[in-house]
């Protein structure tokens, strides 16, 4: 899997449910797959000091982020017997209730997808330089920090 071209993981705006459905449909020709596992990150309307988050505005150090996503992908394929793996992350404004992260892994066997998906999502949260500005309904903001 090495020497593969670095892909652009970023999508402008929210990731739609149609996009996710289409992505699932594309795997129906891959009949060695027995298990898919999908993680979706959705923007929460958190209430902080009586103000409600209405959206997150994502920015990234894009070149470094795509290189990190690539590293995570390579590591996941080395560690786990995966048939397919896809990651998409939003840039720009994603409203509360909309999806900002889509990670999709597939394998012949289910045990593998559970381990692989959690590994990938934790790595994305920890290692990828993406920044999130939580916009409140009154247009004030604060900066999101992953825990």
């Amino acid at each position: 899997m090495t020497n593969k071209k670095i892909k652009n993981v970023f999508r402008q705006g929210a990731i739609s449910s149609e996009f996710i459905g289409d992505s699932i449909a594309k795997h129906q020709t891959k009949t060695s797959i027995g298990a898919h596992n999908i993680f979706l990150g959705q923007v929460r309307a958190d209430i902080i000091d009586n103000k409600t988050v209405s959206a997150i505005e994502y920015t990234a150090y894009e070149d470094m982020a795509n290189a990190k996503f690539h590293d995570i992908r390579e590591t996941a394929f080395e560690k786990f017997e995966l048939t397919c793996m896809h990651i998409y992350h939003s840039l720009g404004t994603v409203k509360a209730g909309e999806i900002c992260l889509f990670v999709f892994v597939s394998s012949p066997r289910r045990k593998v997808v559970f381990e692989a998906l959690e590994f990938i999502v934790e790595a994305v949260k920890a290692d990828v330089p993406v920044f999130g500005k939580e916009i409140f309904e009154d247009e004030s903001h604060q900066w999101k920090v992953n825990k």
């Binding site: 920015t59 990234a60 150090y61 470094m64 290692d127 990828v128 330089p129 920044f131 999130g132 992953n146």
Partner: protein, 77 residues
């Protein structure tokens, strides 16, 4: 050495710019950081990591790269 410095998120809010280039003759990342602090004193209150040519580095790392980035806490996903 001509260095491009990139600022992101709350760091860019402090510097009021996302990128700048400057000539710098120091040896270590820490020296460059002191120089940046001298321009943007308020950055001392911010938490961030530093990347050199897209890899995270420590203050003791030798300055070798053309591209330095100040990265506030990650918030992907």
């Amino acid at each position: 050495m001509l260095i491009t410095i990139k600022y992101f998120g709350q760091i860019a809010e402090v510097t009021q710019k996302e990128e700048e280039s400057l000539e710098f003759s120091g040896v270590l990342i820490s020296e460059l950081l002191e120089h940046i602090y001298s321009k943007y004193n308020a950055l001392k209150n911010e938490g961030f990591q530093i990347a050199q040519n897209q890899e995270l580095v420590s203050l003791e790392t030798k300055l070798s790269g053309k591209e330095i980035a100040l990265l506030p806490p990650f918030a992907g996903g």
